[in-house]
Structures are given as structure tokens and as C-alpha cells.
């Protein structure tokens, strides 16, 4: 089976060079043809997108754009739609994630891009979304209007399905011309989304493109970067800083680096009735996308002196992970991933010999590992792929010094705690650098309109043009009706 990746307005398949990426095992081999554009093709495409977005996208109102996205998302939510079927069939092969997990994940994720959610999303950043359509009066006086970039370049990374939709939708909402570069790890979904958009709204079909180049192909990358007004990039700090070095200084560069997330569980959630459910929710956060998300937990800090001790909670969590393995099996690991997971496991195992306060639950043949620490322990990343550490604390407030050194790396904290504790802790966590707080069990499903890594997703993309009061007043003096 061969599937073509990308979305290339103005180019036919024959005009483009294609490279083959291989996925799947012997039982379900899959070839994905990814486009390799020449510099000239890249430049021409950028020009086409720039012009089209000016002529078409920027003439639509924000509510018209929301309607278009809503129609496209409705198709992808429809399990009979050919693109949706393709996604359900092919994404498990490409990413290795369990098919059922992907199916539920796609629905859960795409639901957050329905019209009402998009409306909320827009007002999150723009108190008056009409500022995207026309000059709007400002509280300080005068008028202002927000303009999206002509070319917004997205450099996506990773294989968590659907992530590119997030930034592409943001780009469309601010009426930007969008060019996205898909990662080799999951090169397909963004292209399908673009296809569907072009089918529901042919008038904007040239306003976006989905391309590919091999990681490290700096020539191709630079060809696009120099055409861009704003560059959005995802990835590890190494690749982000390499991209930053190539972005022209006048181009706005927004980088979303890899992050660490964790959970905090109050003793209030640890009685004999609630603990099992808390463990179930916590395990779900670990299992979803095998901890590959920036919002995926690496550690759960668990309060001592609950009815269920942190150590018992670790046991519960272990069993929930084992149970989830039956429902959503972990994807097959590369030897490098297996080694990383083994290194983490072995490290925890060896430390447990030296200390009575540490332990490791699970067998060599378990698809998960739970480490347990009843001691002072800083936040640290797990071995990924369903490896999690339980760290006992006397009070949730004790977490704060444990995470302080990692301010720039923090993202989500899942919290199970009564209201007073939740708000008190949230303040401290916010100061420490945490940008998102969710319920346990919801860590991997941010709500619509969340501020990714604490940023304004839409506001960051636009520039505001202001008509100051003086201009307004001066214009008045020049009006034909002036006395």
C-alpha cells in the first residue's frame, strides 16, 4: 500500500519528486510517498499561498472561516468519511499506537475544533473577534485591527496524531497563508486535513500547503524560512535552536520545545473508595500516546498519610497499567526506545537495592514500569513508554522546591485535590513555571482554547495596526463636512 503525503496547491504529482518512507511491520507494510520540492517549487508555492491568502482568506470574515473549519472537522468526525476511515486505518500503522486509542483520541481531539469551541478559542485571545475583520474601537480610544501573516510557516515534529491540526487551525483563524512541514514520524494527517479543507471550501484551496523535507535539510528549510513572516516550530531544544539560527532576524519565531509534566495527588483522593479510581485516571494519562506528549506525566507526587499509602497507590497504578495493556496495548518499541526504557528501569532497580525507601514494580515482560520513592526526590523524566514514578510527599506544597530547577521545562500538572488545596497549589505552581493545570485523567486532552505553554496562540501570530485618536481627530478636520 502506498499513500501520498502532503498538499501542494499548484503542483501536479508528476511535477514533484517523491521519496518513500516505510512504516509497519511485515504483516502490514505501508509506503508513504513524501514530496521533495525544488527551491524554485518551494518559492513558487510560497508566492501562490501568499497571494491566495490575501485575495481569498483575508476577505472572509472570522465567522465564515470558523464555519469552514467546522465543516471540515465535521467530515473528519464522521466515521464513514473516506478521510476519517483512512486515518483510522493508516495512523495506527504509521505511529504504532493502538488503533482503538487513535480512534478515540481523534474523536476527542477533533471535537475541540467544532464551531462552538472555535468561537471560545477565538474570544480567549480576542475580546472582540471582529478585530480580525475590521478596525474596532479601542477602550483607550482610537481603533485597532489584527492582521495575520501572509506566510505562516509551521515546522511540526513527533508522531502524536493530529497535533499539526492545532497550529493549522490557529493559522486559519488569523487568516494567515499557511505552509506546514510534516515530520517523518507522522507525515500524513496534516495533508488529509488540508485536502478536506480544500474540498469543503474550494475558494481557499490555495491558501495553505503541506510540504516535507528530510530533517537536517537546511537548504530546503531556509528556502521556506526566508519567505515566512512568522515561523512556528515544534521539537527538541537542539533542533529548535538550529532553526532559530536560520530564521531571518525580522521574522517572528515561536518555538514550542519539549516539556515535562507531572501529577499531584492529595490524600483526599486516597481513601479506600477513591484511590482505585484515582489510579485508573492516572494510568490513563500515562497510557495515552505512551507518554509521548508534552502533557504526559512522568512523575506522580502522592501525599503520605492518606488511607491508601503512596506505595499502595503505586501498586494500584501498576495494576491499572496492566489492565490498560489489554485494552490499549503499547506500541512496539524500537531498540533505542527499549534501551532507554531499560536504562530507566535498571537505574531504578539498582537504586532500590541501596535504599529501603525505593522500589520497582513490574516484570521484565511487563509493558510498563512503576517506580516508587518514599524519600526526597526531584522531578525527573521517566523512561517514556509507560514508565512512571510515584514520589511520596508529606504535603503537596513540598513539590514546589522539587520542580524549581526546571522552570523552563514545565507544562501540565494533573491535580487531584480539594478546592482550597487546588487553588493554593496552583499559585505556587504557576510561579514555578507550570502553565496548565488539569484533572488527573485529563492531562493529555487539553481543552479547546488552552494557552499552549502559557502563550496566546492566536495573538502571538498577528500584528495589530492601530489608528490613534489623533489620526481620527485630524481626519475629522479634513472631512468634506467639516465646518
Amino acid at each position: 500500500m502506498t499513500e501520498r503525503a502532503g498538499y501542494l496547491p499548484g503542483l501536479t504529482d508528476d511535477e514533484v519528486d517523491w521519496q518513500i518512507l516505510r512504516f509497519g511491520g511485515a504483516d502490514a507494510p505501508l509506503e508513504v510517498a513524501v514530496p521533495v520540492l525544488t527551491d524554485a517549487q518551494m518559492q513558487a508555492m510560497a508566492e501562490r499561498v501568499r497571494v491566495a491568502s490575501r485575495d481569498h482568506l483575508k476577505t472572509l470574515t472570522i465567522s465564515q472561516i470558523i464555519d469552514i473549519i467546522d465543516r471540515a472537522v465535521a467530515r473528519l468526525l464522521d466515521r464513514k468519511d473516506p478521510y476519517r476511515r483512512k486515518a483510522e486505518e493508516i495512523l495506527p500503522i504509521v505511529t504504532g499506537y493502538d488503533a482503538e486509542m487513535i480512534r478515540l483520541g481523534l474523536t476527542g481531539y477533533l471535537k475541540t475544533f467544532r464551531k462552538p469551541e472555535l468561537q471560545k478559542f477565538t474570544v480567549e485571545d480576542f475580546a472582540n473577534p471582529l478585530i480580525l475583520d475590521d478596525f474596532q474601537p479601542m477602550p483607550k480610544g482610537g481603533f485597532a485591527r489584527a492582521f495575520g501573516p501572509d506566510i505562516l510557516t509551521h515546522i511540526w515534529a513527533g508522531n502524536v496524531p493530529g497535533i499539526p491540526v492545532w497550529s493549522l487551525v490557529s493559522g486559519l483563524l488569523v487568516k494567515a497563508g499557511n505552509i506546514g512541514k510534516v515530520p517523518s514520524a507522522e507525515p500524513l494527517f496534516a495533508g488529509w486535513f488540508a485536502q478536506v479543507l480544500s474540498e469543503v471550501a474550494p475558494e481557499i484551496a490555495d491558501c495553505f500547503a503541506v510540504v516535507w523535507w528530510k530533517g537536517g535539510d537546511t537548504a530546503r528549510e531556509e528556502a521556506l524560512l526566508k519567505e515566512s513572516d512568522v515561523v512556528l516550530a515544534y521539537g527538541g531544544n537542539g533542533s529548535l535552536s538550529a532553526i532559530r539560527d536560520r530564521v531571518p532576524v525580522t521574522t517572528r519565531y515561536l518555538a514550542y520545545g519539549h516539556k515535562v509534566s507531572f501529577g499531584a495527588i492529595s490524600r483526599a483522593a486516597l481513601d479506600t473508595q477513591k484511590a482505585a479510581d484515582t489510579a485508573h485516571q492516572a494510568a490513563y494519562d500515562v497510557v495515552r500516546y505512551d507518554q509521548q506528549g508534552c502533557y504526559s506525566p512522568h512523575v506522580f507526587f502522592v501525599e503520605r498519610n492518606g488511607r491508601i499509602s503512596p506505595q499502595d497507590f503505586a501498586q494500584y497504578l501498576a495494576h491499572e497499567l496492566e489492565t490498560f495493556e489489554k485494552k490499549y496495548p503499547r506500541r512496539a518499541l524500537s531498540i533505542g526506545e527499549a534501551r532507554d526504557m531499560a536504562t530507566w528501569r535498571h537505574g531504578e532497580e539498582i537504586k532500590s537495592f541501596a535504599s529501603k525507601n525505593r522500589g520497582l514494580i513490574g516484570n521484565a515482560d511487563s509493558a510498563w514500569s512503576v517506580a516508587f520513592v518514599d524519600d526526597t526526590e526531584d522531578l525527573s523524566p521517566s523512561g517514556l513508554n509507560r514508565t512512571i514514578k510515584i514520589v511520596a510527599v508529606d504535603a503537596l506544597a513540598d513539590i514546589v522546591p522539587r520542580i524549581a530547577p526546571y522552570k523552563a521545562l514545565l507544562q501540565t500538572v494533573g491535580i487531584a485535590a480539594p478546592p482550597a488545596e487546588l487553588y493554593a497549589l496552583s499559585t505556587a505552581l504557576g510561579i514555578a513555571g507550570v502553565t496548565r493545570i488539569s484533572a488527573i485523567g485529563h492531562m493529555t486532552a487539553p481543552e479547546a482554547g488552552w494557552h499552549h505553554d502559557g502563550r496566546f496562540n492566536l495573538l502571538d501570530l498577528v500584528s495589530i495596526t492601530e489608528i490613534e485618536r489623533s489620526a481620527e481627530a485630524a481626519a475629522d478636520t479634513l472631512a468634506p463636512y467639516a465646518d
Binding site: 505511529t95 515534529a157 513527533g158 508522531n159 502524536v160 497535533i163 514520524a185 515544534y234 521539537g235 527538541g236 531544544n237 537542539g238 514550542y256 520545545g257 519539549h258 516539556k259 515535562v260 500516546y289 507518554q291 509521548q292 506528549g293 508534552c294 504526559s296 512522568h298 518499541l333 524500537s334 531498540i335 533505542g336 526506545e337 527499549a338 534501551r339 532507554d340 526504557m341 531499560a342 536504562t343 530507566w344 528501569r345 535498571h346 537505574g347 532497580e349 539498582i350 537504586k351 532500590s352 537495592f353 541501596a354 520497582l360 516484570n363 521484565a364 515482560d365 525527573s380 523524566p381 523512561g383 517514556l384 530547577p405 526546571y406 523552563a408 521545562l409
Partner: protein, 367 residues
């Protein structure tokens, strides 16, 4: 079994005739198993951290039926645990890793005697590096044992010199590194006299040497029978060279064909070394003498990977009797008919998504 019994048994096993061809099927599996399982029982009994480790893995001498059942200790454990059957203070010699990772903590191997190590080294070296002659003129590009008493490589090279070097052999080092002038004069001499010459050193020692030769515009054509020996890779001590690039430069610089450039693969956590049969093709196939065996496993499950697939190397070295004989390395490899292809350190995988992996976290947190 007492330590003396163990040593006696091992010396006999190492010395045993081994006329079979150079395949992994040499010393019969049964004979190897017998010694390996006795060693396992000895280490289980006399080394508490190792016993804990084994029980944690649900494995005891009672339930191990083959050397493949012996739990492999990850080499990082050498840094955290004292792995020694004899009291550490009774060790005649302690070899330590270079301590480049884990906050400079060094892994330690305690040797109550070097008799087994030495027997293992000399027999292996003879078999793989000196099959055709008893002694050779040697130049060693590595510090002496006196300067580096905790380096297993320094001891290894001292043994090579003592047992296989002629009286014209010696260290080609001075305080600030390689003694270039002396070395080049010696190489000139060898070239003129037609006497074969062997150069031995860490892989990274050869890099500045090749640079210096380039700077001086020198190259040599060492006589037939000459050979090169490198080990250990570059470890950030020198520029990193690709294997083909490295052996091409050695061949061109010294006139020794690539098939006479032998790479030794050893570790502080072992008392026996692996060798290849030259580096005409890289990565070469490595094999070891009959008292060491290797597996290629999935490090997570501990199961062998299917033949021909990449996994992580486990070595069971009977000569490493006082510490633990079965270790899990961080090296990736592929099993072949007559050994394994060493693919270097298994790289950490970057997260597939936007989650942070350990290595990146450490880097970011340090920054």
C-alpha cells in the same frame, strides 16, 4: 566453592585445548554452562548486592539452567553497587571506568588476583593478534600502569609488552603526549630494516598522531607482517572519525593494510577481550576466546532478538569471576555466524512526540 577452587578451575578452563574452528560453537555449550553456573552460584553466595539483584529478577542458581539464565547486570550498576565476592579492601587491583558520565562516578572492578585476568589476556591476545609469531617490535601509544594504576587498558598493554614485545619495544609517550620524534625515528628504522612493527594504543591516540604526520607531511610503509591495534573508540578524547575513514588513514599513514588493523573491544567490566580479524570491512565481526560468550538481547525483556536483528550486547565472561560474570552493556550489536557486529553505543531515542527524554532533560536542566 572457595576462591582458590574457582581460580584453579578457571585457569584450567582457559588453558584447555581449543582446536575447534573460530565459531561461537567452540568450547562445548555444556562445558561452558557448567563453569558459568558454578560461578553464578559462587557470586550469588558471596556478593550480597548481586544476590539481591538476582532475587529481584526472580532468578537464583537453583533455577538457572544455562548461562543464558544468569541475570545480566547493567554496567551502570558497577557505579552504584560494590560488586565483589572478596572484601573490596582485599583486592590486589581495582580497575575503574573513566567516569565520563553520571556525575563522574566511576564503575569499579575488584580483582583479588590478576592471575585469571592475565591468563585470559595473554591467551586471547596470542590467538587473535599474534597467531603467527611469538614476539614483535612494539610501540605503545598509551600511558604506563604506573601512571594509570586503575586503568585496565594500561595493564592490558603492559602485559602485551611484557609477553609479546621484543627488547626493542616500548612506550612511545612523554609527559605531554606522544613522543613523536622518537616514534617517527623508530618507524623509519623499522621501514629500513624490514622488521615488522606493531603499534598499539587507544583509538583516540591515533588521531593526533595522524594529524601530526599530516602536518609534517609524513607517511610510512611498514614492512610486511606489521600490524596495528586500536581499542575503545574516540570517547570525546579526540575528533570523531568514521570507521572507514579511520582505517583508511591508518592504512595510508603506516602502509599496513586494513585487514591487519585489529580492533580490540574490551571493557573495565570484563576480564576478557573481543577482537576482529582486521577491518577490511566495517563494522567488523568481533569474537572472543572460548571462555566468553555473548548474546544480543532486547534490553527490556532480556530475551534474545531474532538472529540478525539489532539488539544490545550481553557478555558472559568466566574470567571476571570476582565481580559478576554476566553484564548488560550499552552497546548495540548484531549476531553473526561467527560472533557479532559491534554497532557502537546504542543511541538514546528522542521522544516521538513532544515529551522530554532523559538526555535532553539533563542537558536542558544544566543549561
Amino acid at each position: 566453592m572457595t576462591q582458590d577452587h574457582i581460580i584453579e578451575m578457571l585457569l584450567a578452563f582457559i588453558a584447555a585445548d581449543d582446536d575447534q574452528p573460530d565459531t561461537k560453537a567452540r568450547a562445548s555449550e555444556d562445558a561452558f554452562n557448567e563453569v558459568a553456573l558454578q560461578l553464578f552460584a559462587y557470586q550469588f553466595e558471596n556478593n550480597k548486592p548481586f544476590r539481591q539483584f538476582s532475587v529481584q529478577r526472580g532468578r537464583t542458581p537453583r533455577t538457572a539452567r544455562s548461562w543464558r539464565d544468569i541475570p545480566a547486570v547493567p554496567i551502570n550498576a558497577f557505579k552504584e553497587l560494590t560488586l565483589s565476592c572478596c572484601p573490596p579492601e582485599d583486592a590486589a587491583r581495582v580497575f575503574m571506568t573513566s567516569g565520563t558520565t553520571l556525575g563522574g562516578v566511576r564503575g569499579k572492578s575488584y580483582h583479588p588476583t590478576l592471575s585469571v585476568y592475565d591468563a585470559s589476556m595473554t591467551r586471547g591476545f596470542k590467538q587473535y593478534f599474534m597467531p603467527d609469531r611469538d614476539r614483535i617490535d612494539m610501540g605503545i601509544l598509551f600511558p604506563t600502569e604506573t601512571i594509570m594504576p586503575n586503568s585496565s587498558l594500561a595493564h592490558y598493554l603492559a602485559l602485551a609488552l611484557a609477553h609479546f614485545g621484543t627488547s626493542d619495544s616500548g612506550y612511545m609517550m612523554q609527559d605531554d603526549g606522544i613522543a613523536y620524534n622518537r616514534l617517527f625515528a623508530t618507524l623509519d628504522q623499522a621501514q629500513m630494516s624490514g622488521t615488522p612493527y606493531a603499534m598499539l594504543g587507544a583509538s583516540y591516540s591515533f588521531v593526533p598522531l595522524l594529524d601530526e604526520m599530516k602536518r609534517r607531511g609524513l607517511s610510512f610503509a611498514l614492512p610486511e607482517g606489521s600490524r596495528m591495534f586500536d581499542t575503545g573508540g574516540f570517547k570525546g578524547q579526540s575528533r570523531e572519525l568514521g570507521l572507514d575513514e579511520f582505517y583508511d588513514q591508518l592504512a595510508a599513514g603506516f602502509g599496513v593494510p586494513r585487514e591487519k588493523c585489529i580492533n580490540m573491544y574490551g571493557m573495565t567490566e570484563l576480564s576478557t577481550q573481543f577482537y576482529d580479524r582486521g577491518n577490511a570491512i566495517c563494522p567488523s565481526v568481533k569474537s572472543g576466546p572460548h571462555w566468553i560468550r555473548s548474546r544480543v538481547i532486547n534490553p527490556l525483556t532480556g530475551e534474545d532478538v531474532p538472529f540478525g536483528e539489532t539488539g544490545v550486547l550481553v557478555h558472559c565472561d568466566l574470567a571476571h569471576f570476582n565481580i559478576v560474570s554476566t553484564i548488560l552493556t550499552e552497546d548495540a550489536g548484531v549476531e553473526t555466524e561467527d560472533g557479532f557486529r559491534l554497532l557502537g553505543r546504542a543511541d538514546g531515542a528522542e521522544a516521538k512526540g513532544c515529551s522530554m527524554a532523559v538526555e535532553e532533560f539533563l542537558k536542558a536542566a544544566q543549561a
